[in-house]
Symmetry: C2
Subunit: 215 residues, 2 copies
């Protein structure tokens, strides 16, 4: 860290729901499949956009004429974990903004790169047993030219986000190393990298029936 | 659904933190990298196990002598989303239980299958901007013999979980279909499947330097 201060949570106190601005607790009463009435506790965001989707993450691929294909990760202090996390760039979707618009905007703010969204996932659930928080994964391509300088970030006041460029071929191993060094890797990024690695290590498991040539 | 009732949230009310049993809101005061004091709102579980890890998910691979390799997914009504979700089997880790012990136990309870844990991820963060909730991904192998009957589940009272066996080669496409049909796919499972699919569709992006044969 080049920062003069090591970020740190200095106090953690219970927060009455009435004082919370960003998140809230709710109690759902629901009828189960047997017709019984039951209760479930839920943590929700107060800020879900009009589209009904909270957040977008940018699964980005950087193409460069003479460097291996890579992806840019962001490292930042996350107070909920009192730790630095390793994640793909991501952010909340603003009101009246599409997931794709938020993806291009947040990628530019957090990394300085201009990207092109090439695919968007359905809205998927962050932690379905605890919260209704959801997100979309946008896959974004970034095309660089020889000699392009590293762009400037455009962070909000108070935001401190470091960028790390990782060759895609090394992504899974690098995430394992980050975890050993005390960083907390985001589950979604980890799962994507683990899926890539599993497909590379076990190609026959994923062969479609009828495409057996070379097996 | 063969169930006589369609599960449904019938009421959703604010829950004072003091009345919540499973989750809570907290306010973190933290010092940022510039030395400024800031505030962040956090949703936490009250039940984190002694190991410091909340949950485990079972990324399972089913091997069968005459059927394509597959994975078992679970479909259940999730009150936070007021919807049926598609997830890998998962559960909270009990006190004094390891992630691997919880993985074998929960897989047996939710699916009836006996599995063998072949790898365990670091603790990764479910939704780092909102919560300290974390989990480990255990990859689990299930070896079936010809003619093995589908095992019985061993669910808790009130649990209603359906199993779906999906060939690995079709996993990504099936998740996209589930989403179109109104199910909510869990982000972690989706990211794993998307990583697999990306590696299959773009093998050259993941080639390590020095392994260019055939490129």
């Amino acid at each position: 860290m080049s920062s003069p201060h090591q970020p740190k949570v200095t106090s953690l106190v219970d927060l009455p729901s009435s004082e919370a601005k960003w998140i809230k607790l709710q109690k759902a009463i629901y009828r189960d499949a047997r017709g019984n009435e039951r209760i479930w506790e839920i943590a929700s965001r107060k800020t879900t956009s009009k589209s009904g989707v909270d957040a977008v993450a940018m699964g980005n691929i950087i193409y460069h004429p003479s460097k291996p294909p890579s992806t840019i990760l962001v490292i930042q202090f996350r107070p909920p974990l009192n730790a630095f996390t390793v994640e793909w760039p991501a952010g909340l979707i603003d009101a009246n903004e599409s997931a794709e618009e938020a993806a291009v905007r947040e990628l530019y703010e957090e990394t300085g790169y201009h990207g092109k969204v090439v695919s968007t996932s359905p809205a998927v659930a962050a932690d379905p047993g605890m919260t209704n928080a959801n997100m979309k994964l946008c896959m974004v391509e970034i095309q660089l030219k020889e000699g392009d300088p590293e762009p400037e970030q455009h962070l909000d006041e108070g935001e401190e986000i470091q960028r790390v460029n990782v060759p895609l071929a090394e992504l899974y191993d690098r995430l394992e190393e980050f975890a050993k060094e005390g960083y907390v890797v985001a589950a979604k990024l980890y799962h994507w990298a683990a899926g890539v690695q599993y497909a590379i290590d076990h190609p026959k498991l994923f062969e479609k029936v009828g495409s057996k040539e070379g097996a």
